[in-house]
């Protein structure tokens, strides 16, 4: 179908040194010298060049190399990938190009070279600065290693994000607070705070089933999320999305693309592509259509995703959406009554409750489009 240009590009690197206990991403533990990785990267490069030839990369404004663990595949393959990318699109300095990195495999050489090849934002998978928690999560690194990796990264990169997890059974509020404070002290520009979700078929899920581990405690997760919001906002970070905090000017543009209905192209195993025009929105993953939405459903989805962000949606936008979603005004009035949404300066924004109990909020919006 004729479609609007893609503006975000995602490249998936499905390899890790080992799988963490909570992880259900598409990735597998493969030794870094495996020829399997070589042929995967070659294939990925071919796809990039092919898409470039078709003109699909002409309007790309953000690139995200995620995984898996991109740094696990080593410098030479990363260089090959970045060369290919730089030759296939305008990888200008204003294009946000993020690469995920893990403390155990981030080296000085990688930092130096990928920065030189156009990566300008690094997302470091720290998860916690507490060794006990890291062990429980099955992470292949320690807190010291994470701090070391961060110092190395900071020699080149100024735009660095780290992930922190909360609500992990066994994690006390005190250790979570310490992790947040350490992150603040280390001077990163962006922090994502995720409550642990126990996904099916993960080692954690099995442990919970066998009774070897308690299930997640929603109250504790809520407490941690509230604590993170308090500490980070006091330290000058803005909460621009339910789980994302950034110093002014350092919001992740690529993530925002996902949340604002911008078409994105995903390359590599299980990477999702969103293609749309004004009549239809489709998501495709590994050649399979996973979503096929009508204009009304598109509008509802955009609203739902907008309500993850602190900016929320404007009154005008709501009024404008009424044509496709006739029940939208009563719905938002009701959400206000439930305390999930607040109308402020002409915009409907999620409240703290709206953030913590987002499914309640998104569910009502989702129901607007049949």
């Amino acid at each position: 179908m004729p479609h609007d240009p893609y503006q975000a590009l995602y490249l998936h690197i499905p390899f890790c040194v080992k799988r963490c206990s909570y992880c259900d991403f598409v990735t597998s533990a493969v030794p870094s010298d495996s020829p399997e990785i070589d042929s995967y990267i070659e294939d990925l490069c071919m796809q990039i060049r092919h898409k470039s030839k078709e003109g699909e990369l002409a309007d790309i404004k953000t690139v995200y190399i995620g995984g898996g663990t991109p740094t696990h595949i080593g410098l030479s393959r990363l260089s090959l990938l970045m060369y290919t990318l730089a030759l296939s699109m305008h990888l200008d300095s204003w294009v946000e190009c993020t690469m995920e990195a893990n403390p155990e495999s981030l080296t000085e050489n990688i930092v130096r070279d990928v920065f030189a090849l156009g990566v300008n934002r690094l997302s470091l998978g720290v998860q916690s600065f507490d060794d006990e928690v890291l062990r429980l999560l099955g992470r292949p690194h320690t807190a010291t290693k994470a701090i070391e990796a961060l110092r190395i990264a900071q020699e080149r990169f100024e735009n660095i994000s780290i992930d922190l997890m909360c609500g992990i059974p066994g994690q006390s509020t005190a250790t979570f607070r310490e992790s947040i404070e350490t992150a603040i002290d280390l001077g990163v520009q962006h922090i994502s705070v995720y409550p642990l979700t126990i996904e099916d078929h993960t080692p954690f899920a099995k442990m919970v089933l066998r009774g070897q581990m308690p299930d997640v405690d929603d109250d504790m997760e809520a407490e941690h999320m509230e604590l993170a919001a308090k500490l980070l906002q006091a330290a000058g970070y803005e909460r621009y999305e339910v789980a994302s905090y950034a110093k002014p000017g350092y919001q992740c543009k690529h993530s925002i693309a996902y949340w604002t209905g911008v078409p994105y192209l995903g390359l590599g195993k299980s990477a999702a592509t969103m293609t749309q025009n004004c009549d239809r929105r489709m998501r495709v993953k590994d050649g399979v259509v996973t979503d096929d939405l009508t204009p009304a459903q598109m509008r509802a989805e955009d609203l739902m995703l907008s309500m993850r962000m602190s900016a929320g949606v404007s009154e005008e936008h709501i009024a404008y959406s009424q044509e496709l979603l006739p029940n939208i005004i009563p719905c938002f009035n009701n959400l206000q009554k439930k305390g999930l949404v607040i109308l402020e300066e002409g915009r409907y924004k999620p409240t703290e409750l709206g953030w913590l109990c987002g499914n309640e909020l998104y569910g009502d919006i989702f129901d607007l489009a049949p």
């Binding site: 929603d218 997760e221 998501r283």
Partner: protein
């Protein structure tokens, strides 16, 4: 042509549930060539899907087969397959009244069980000649000698000549047919007397109206006769008579001693009641055959559509099922919590389950059933009696002089080791021990008086699990007795939820209330606000629990591929909500309404 009485044999096959009655009937049809092997389906006589699936017989059936015996004579056998479950005891008794003999099927591995005893008693009371048959002798665990002993000791039926058979392999079925010829008496009756025919079952056929299954006792009946049903005083013209082989085959007439069907053309099955007597309008008789009684429901439940739009379809479905089931009684009921629905009366728990399943399956309805209750007799001060079918109708405690509840005589058969376990359980359920008999060294019969309301909780499940599955149970209605009963209300967020209230013995109210609050706390998911749960009698709160407000319910990660997952999750959440009932602003899952039944864990 009038059939020669001496060549007719009318008999039933009776058994405890699962002892293989229907399979045995199948083999008889096969062996007599009534049904070609290629047309044979399992349990041919169980015509409803639900009967075949659950392996139970709900409606009676009558099949005519011709059997050429070893003596060279051809006999007309009328085989009447009866329902095997206690809920349908009355229907069984009428079917038996249409016979001269019964084949008592006993499982060679299980031996005599409660319904074996109950059915054998019914057959003896009907003065039937009983042929014991030990079934499933092909199983490695079969113990025919032990079972013979049990039949002799426990039932006082000589079992030396018991037929050893296997419905599965067909072994012994020929012996059975010969035994029927020689042991079961030919019917007696006066062919010249005015017509008297017993209705032992009836059903509604969309094309022909109500069809009755009858046994002609005296006289004869044919197409065009003007007949009258004595109990209902309904008159109609006979549209057709015939026999089932098992397909309906019209005959010129049904004469004395014969069993067959009669097409009435009537539109309402309640005009053609089981147990009633058919006679001719002109030159008929006026004394009915003995044994007729009105069938009354024992168990009541509220049935509510989960989706309010399904009220009318539910009503139509109940109307349709009632056409065929005069025991199904219903009236509209309104619940503040559940909206518009029906109070439905059933013969028993199985009957209830079967109807609910048929409503859901055959009519595509999503139903919510409230906890079953019984009919209480409430005497107001001043003497007026109210029949209470629903806790909602309970008058103010100040106006009540006394309440009576239905009691059952229950018969439990168990190996002697479990006497203690049954004693504990049944006393705990307010049962009164009557007596105990050793039927054999391995089987004890315990007799109890127990309130029906206790039995319809999970008593049978508990009895089975406390006796490792050995216990078998049979019961019959005994009468009403006074009890110290109170209505227990459940309040959610301070509001009484009528559909959750129930009537309970006062001594048990506190415990039930406490456990139920705990159960509901587990069942009701956390909501956006705190939900207090209270159990109360009158205004007095006995127990309280709180479902805390939900604090976190969000998928934090939401990147490219996660968005699809998120949509799926929200769809699931929506489907989950659909299975809940919104009461005020509280979402209550369906299980909550059945939680009352599971308060003993």
């Amino acid at each position: 042509m009038t059939q020669d009485l001496s060549h007719i044999r009318n008999f039933s096959i009776i058994a405890h549930i699962d002892h293989g009655k229907s399979t045995l009937s199948d083999r008889i049809l096969e062996l007599t060539g009534t049904v070609a092997q290629r047309d044979m389906k399992e349990q041919l006589l169980d015509s409803m899907d639900i009967e075949r699936e659950r392996g139970i017989t709900i409606k009676s059936q009558a099949v005519r087969v011709n059997y050429t015996a070893d003596d060279g004579e051809t006999y007309q056998f009328n085989l009447i397959d009866t329902p095997g479950h206690v809920d349908f005891t009355y229907e069984v008794s009428r079917s038996l009244a249409a016979c001269e003999g019964a084949v008592l099927v006993v499982d060679a591995t299980q031996g005599v069980e409660a319904q074996t005893v109950a059915n054998a008693m019914l057959a003896m009371n009907a003065n039937l000649e009983i042929i014991p048959l030990i079934n499933k002798i092909d199983l490695p665990a079969a113990e025919p000698d032990r079972v013979k002993e049990e039949i002799e000791d426990g039932l006082a039926i000589p079992a030396d000549d018991a037929v050893l058979a296997s419905g599965k392999t067909g072994e012994g079925v020929h012996d059975l047919l010969e035994s029927v010829v020689y042991n079961i008496p030919a019917p007696q009756g006066d062919a010249d007397a005015p017509l008297r025919a017993l209705i032992f079952d009836s059903y509604f056929d969309a094309y022909r109206g109500v069809v009755a299954l009858i046994r002609v006792v005296d006289g004869s009946v044919k197409k065009g006769n003007h007949i009258r049903m004595l109990a209902t005083n309904t008159e109609t013209l006979v549209e057709e008579v015939g026999a089932r082989r098992p397909a309906e085959t019209p005959l010129p007439e049904l004469s004395t001693g014969e069993v067959g069907y009669l097409v009435t053309g009537l539109k309402d099955v309640s005009q053609v009641k089981v147990g009633d007597t058919i006679t001719l309008v002109q030159g008929g008789c006026s004394d009915p055959l003995p044994g007729y009684r009105e069938v009354k429901p024992m168990v009541y439940t509220g049935l509510f559509p989960i989706d309010g739009d399904q009220y009318e379809p539910l009503k139509e479905a109940l109307e349709k099922l009632s056409l065929n089931d005069p025991a199904l009684i219903w009236e509209p009921e309104t619940s503040h919590a559940l909206g518009f629905g029906f109070r439905v009366g059933f013969l028993g728990l199985l009957h209830m389950e079967v109807i609910k399943e048929r409503l859901e399956r055959e009519f595509g309805l999503d139903l919510l059933a409230t906890a079953p209750s019984v009919e209480y007799h409430v005497y107001r001060k001043g003497g007026e009696m109210i029949s209470l079918h629903s806790p909602q109708e309970m008058p103010d405690p100040g106006e009540i002089e006394r309440i009576e509840e239905p009691y059952l005589k229950a018969k439990i058969l168990i190996p002697p080791d479990y006497v203690g376990a049954v004693m504990d359980l049944t006393v705990q359920r307010r049962g009164t021990f009557v007596t105990m008999n050793y039927l054999s060294q391995t089987t004890v019969e315990m007799l109890w008086e127990i309130p029906l309301s206790e039995l319809i909780m999970d008593y049978f499940d508990k009895l089975k699990s406390n006796t490792k599955g050995y216990a078998s149970l049979d019961y019959e209605f005994d009468g009403y007795k006074e009890s110290n009963l109170v209505k227990l209300d459940i309040l959610l967020s301070g509001k009484p939820i009528d559909a959750l209230s129930f009537i309970v013995h006062k001594d048990k109210a506190y415990e039930r209330g406490r456990v139920l609050c705990e159960k509901l706390k587990e069942i009701i998911p956390r909501q956006m606000f705190e939900v207090p749960i209270q159990a109360a009698i009158g205004g007095r709160v006995l127990a309280r629990q709180t479902v805390k407000a939900k604090r976190k319910d969000v998928l934090a990660k939401c990147y490219g591929g996660d968005i699809t997952r998120k949509r799926k999750l929200l769809e699931k959440q929506k489907a989950g909500k659909k299975r809940m009932k919104a009461i005020g602003n509280v979402e209550v899952p369906q299980e909550a309404f059945m939680a009352i039944l599971k308060v003993d864990d």
